[in-house]
Symmetry: C2
Subunit: 156 residues, 2 copies
């Protein structure tokens, strides 16, 4: 009996947490102390076309009401702006601000740095293999960056 399934689950979660916690911490150290992972994901989705609350909700697999709340937070903090949609009077079109893009850029950079650290610890080929194997297990589609609604969902 090598390891248990529970251990494996905790290892995976531990890896994720290690990356994300370090990223959030580093972002805070760089002055972005009010950004949470879900905000990054949301901005990414907005940037890639989910520019209204309903669509954002769909992409993130959360209700449009929850998406509207996230947008409200991002608005408050200056990471997105909102304007009328020129073609659809019902919609309010969201756009990522330069500040928002800056957070996205830095978050990405920090994560890439962390990945490079892991590459040094494990070896370049080895990490690539680990990623390839995880991709086999997890599949490619469930990890599309536009739909990580379950990121913050009932993990308890």
């Amino acid at each position: 009996m090598s390891r248990s399934g529970a251990d494996l689950a905790l290892l995976l979660l531990g890896g994720y947490r290690k990356l994300i916690d370090a990223t959030v911490l580093e972002l805070a150290a760089r002055g972005f102390d009010d950004v949470r992972p879900v905000h990054e994901f949301a901005m990414r989705a907005v940037d890639s076309g989910a520019d209204n609350a309903s669509e954002l909700g769909r992409r993130m697999s959360i209700s449009k009401q929850a998406a509207a709340k996230t947008i409200a937070t991002l608005l408050e903090r200056g990471y997105v702006t909102r304007g009328a949609d020129p073609v659809d009077g019902r919609r309010k079109r969201i756009e990522v601000t330069p500040l928002g893009f800056e957070v996205m850029r830095q978050g990405e950079a920090i994560l890439n740095d962390l990945r490079t650290e892991w590459e040094l610890q494990l070896g370049r080929k080895e990490l690539a293999l680990l990623e390839a194997q995880l991709t086999i297990l997890v599949g490619d589609s469930p990890v599309r960056i536009e739909a990580p609604g379950w990121v913050a969902q009932d993990l308890g």
Copy 2:
């Protein structure tokens, strides 16, 4: 440029979610439809000595008030019982009930089955290597089963 750090984080999270979601679902199918991962972790901690709210809070890295709430839920659902501590009048001693142990046992079994499935997909040696590498990256101590308070914490 192989993969990005963000992809890696999502792969790890995806792996965890895949295991845990399937486990919660299967537990529900077996009649335990009110158990959440955090309950399993809490019961495990109680069983391994964290038999009062304050200690449970410490082990799970949450406040004693939060731990007390978790205990209240577990009490309601019959997974633990509470009695007076014979040596310390301040404490209320918690114990896992047979029903609680049954959930723990089945949860463990389900996770082990899922891990076996992964073994078939990846190969026995390969999965063992993956686990070994994750252990290098994550470390052994942060994955102790008694302290996954961060399981349900600010993942958003």
